[in-house]
Amino acid sequence: MRAFATRLRTSRLTYLTLIAVLFFSAFPLYFSVVVASQDNSALGKVPPPVVPGANLVENVRRVFDTVPFDVALLNSLIVSSTITASVVLFSTLAGFAFAKLRFRARNAFLLIIVATMMVPTQLGVIPLYLMMIRLEWTDTLAAVIVPALVQAFGVFFMTQYLSEAVPAELIEAARIDGCATHRIFWSVVWPLARPGAAVLGMLTFLGAWNDYFWPLVVLSSPESQTVQVALSALRSGYVQDYSLSLTGTLLATVPLLVVFGLLGRQIVGGIMQGALKG
């Protein structure tokens, strides 16, 4: 019957579109590989090259010679993982409260959170730096981790996600059964929150990994630098050696891809599990 056929088959047009989208999404990354595996003059060529060259190993070696890349990678890993775990946890907790619990000043608090996202934060660097001096955290990973342990975006995101994904009846019924709030959270809400939490986790990890501005100000020594700060050394001078800096950024991207690759199955699985629930 036609009904079964359309349900099971995804049209060829869909595949074509998705492949095209994937191509455009991936092409710049591919092009960085091409440039990274050549030398700086490659960019000057017209038309630009589209096939990787042989220089990649040499450039990688230069990167590791120029900046303490392994330390920086480890630092970024520690920073990004901690921030992600914390943001996801606290955002889900707070999001649950805002979405499903009733309390006075709920709206006021929520509005404050959203409002703070509307002020550009670049300038916050200075007062934050003053605080770090007071706390004696400058040049430590704590300076980069602690201010980022909670993020307004995370709370806002989980609030609206949970307001959709957790039906009110479920909570009411649990209350009727005499469940305390924390039980409701862990047993009812948390499993339902997983797809949203997974997406938030990925986006947060990405953001923390790519953060450049604040770590640049507060982390100075090579032992504490995160990967983006270390990479800025490759972009330096009057000149830009693009093949070198692209090699560096590629190396910085590889862990991201690995993390996404490993977690990807579970994340997508989480998304799929949410789908089955319906």
């Binding site: 000057g44 955290w137 100075s220 330096s236 001078g237």
Partner: protein, 438 residues
């Protein structure tokens, strides 16, 4: 709304929670541990004499081999160099100076920013207190001046290199246009900028796929660099509107634009890089430090570039100083290192590696400099050319925001190039924009 109607497949809630909590606890423990370790690691062990110096640069100054040599002489000194991108480096320095913490023991400051930092002598160690006074006679006087505070009592920065200008040109492109290619003949073609424009007109008439120079901004900078007074007078007033040399530089550049000589490519952009490789422009004002860049950009053009005199006489473009922020804990050692890095032999070593031209005039007679040349530039006697340029140039006072003023004027020229404004309107806007910078 029948959300529960699916019946089978209830969300069975397996006990994931303990595992998750354990995982989170582990990560938190790792953080605390990591922060603790980091905090531990940054202090120095009691009782040992190792002195750790940090030096912040905005590029590769070629100092790495010099640090090795210094360590041989002073084994207890460890040197850590950190490099950041040009603009971010200077912004960071300003922020660290303002907040009182985070600056390195030694910082590099480029000429575009030096006046701003020198205006704050209380934030830096006075190098005269550390024996730098004896070096005064060795330096080019104007380079020495740039590092002095207004009252002349504090030396904030010691000069690294100077940017004496020359004109780099493509011999093959000149040949295409029927122009002479030998560097002395080329230098003779353009004693003044007006002659330069004439030659340019001949060039673009003959060669269709290329222009004469990269951007009007560079040309303007070069002409201004040759004037006795620039955009500031010595009282830190902006004199763009009243200084006839500035207006003359503007008018000359506008004439060049109107003659169609500009390739309209902004410097330091990817298009500029491509322009080198593609021969989009036949000449470019090149200070010494730019030669390394040209070489890296267009290796296929090796041997096709040569160096001639710049029209209009000598002028300066670029160069840096090393400064010692007062936040540093070891000023004597840092000052010693600075003097070492900027010693005559080391300035020669850096020139050979990186092309940064020394700021010590007595070196200009040193055969190591005079005989220096590179095959890339057709074996032009680079040392000799830049030495002559450096000696001949007249000092120009650079006020606190000279870099910004020049950028603003450069943008005005850019607007003319892109056809967004007429020259007259662009000049008016430049004047009013520059007023805002006071």
């Amino acid at each position: 709304m029948n959300l529960h109607s699916a019946g089978a497949g209830r969300p069975h809630v397996p006990p994931r929670r303990p595992r998750l909590v354990r995982g989170l606890a582990a990560i938190l423990a790792l953080t605390v541990g990591g922060a603790g370790l980091a905090a531990c690691g940054s202090g120095s062990e009691p009782g040992d004499e190792t002195i750790k110096l940090t030096i912040n640069l905005f590029g590769d100054f070629g100092y790495q081999p010099l640090y090795e040599k210094y360590k041989e002489l002073h084994p207890n000194v460890e040197i850590e160099e950190r490099v950041a991108e040009y603009a971010a480096h200077h912004t960071n320095l300003a922020q660290h100076l303002a907040t009182g913490s985070g600056a390195a023991d030694i910082e590099a400051v480029e000429v575009g920013y030096i006046a701003q930092f020198v205006a704050q002598p209380e934030k830096f160690y006075n190098l005269l207190d550390y024996g730098a006074g004896s070096l005064e006679s060795e330096y080019l006087p104007w380079k020495w001046q740039q590092g002095l505070s207004k009252d002349g009592k504090s030396l904030i920065g010691l000069g690294t290199d100077v940017g004496g200008m020359a004109m780099c040109y493509r011999t093959d492109k000149f040949a295409e246009a029927g122009l002479p290619t030998a560097r002395d003949e080329v230098s003779a073609l353009w004693p003044t900028w007006d002659d330069y424009i004439e030659v340019g007109k001949q060039y673009v008439a003959k060669v269709s796929d290329s222009k004469f120079f990269d951007s009007s901004g560079n040309m303007f900078r070069a002409i201004v660099g040759q004037a006795p007074v620039g955009v500031y007078d010595t009282n830190d007033n902006i004199v763009v509107g009243t200084n006839p040399d500035i207006k003359r530089a503007w008018d000359t550049t506008v004439r060049a634009i109107e003659a169609g000589l500009s390739a309209k490519i902004a410097a330091w952009t990817p298009e500029w890089n491509t322009g080198f490789a593609q021969g989009s422009f036949a000449t470019i004002v090149c200070p010494a430090w730019m030669t390394a860049y040209i070489e890296a950009q267009a290796p296929d053009a090796a041997g096709k570039w040569d160096i001639a005199q710049v029209p209009g006489g000598a002028g300066n473009m670029g160069g840096s100083h090393l400064v010692l922020p007062k936040q540093g804990k070891h000023p004597e050692v840092a000052a010693d290192l600075v003097k070492f890095l900027l010693s005559p032999e080391n300035q020669i070593a850096v020139f050979k590696e990186k092309g940064n031209f020394p700021s010590l005039p007595k070196l200009y007679e040193d055969p190591a400099i005079l005989d220096f040349s590179k095959p890339f530039f057709n074996n032009a006697p680079m040392g000799k050319i830049f030495a002559e340029a450096a000696v001949a140039l007249k000092p120009q006072y650079e006020g606190p925001r000279a870099g910004d003023v020049m950028n603003t004027i450069g943008q005005g020229l850019g607007r003319i190039e892109q056809g967004q404004q007429s020259p007259a309107d662009a000049w008016q806007q430049v004047l009013s924009d520059v007023q805002k910078l006071t």
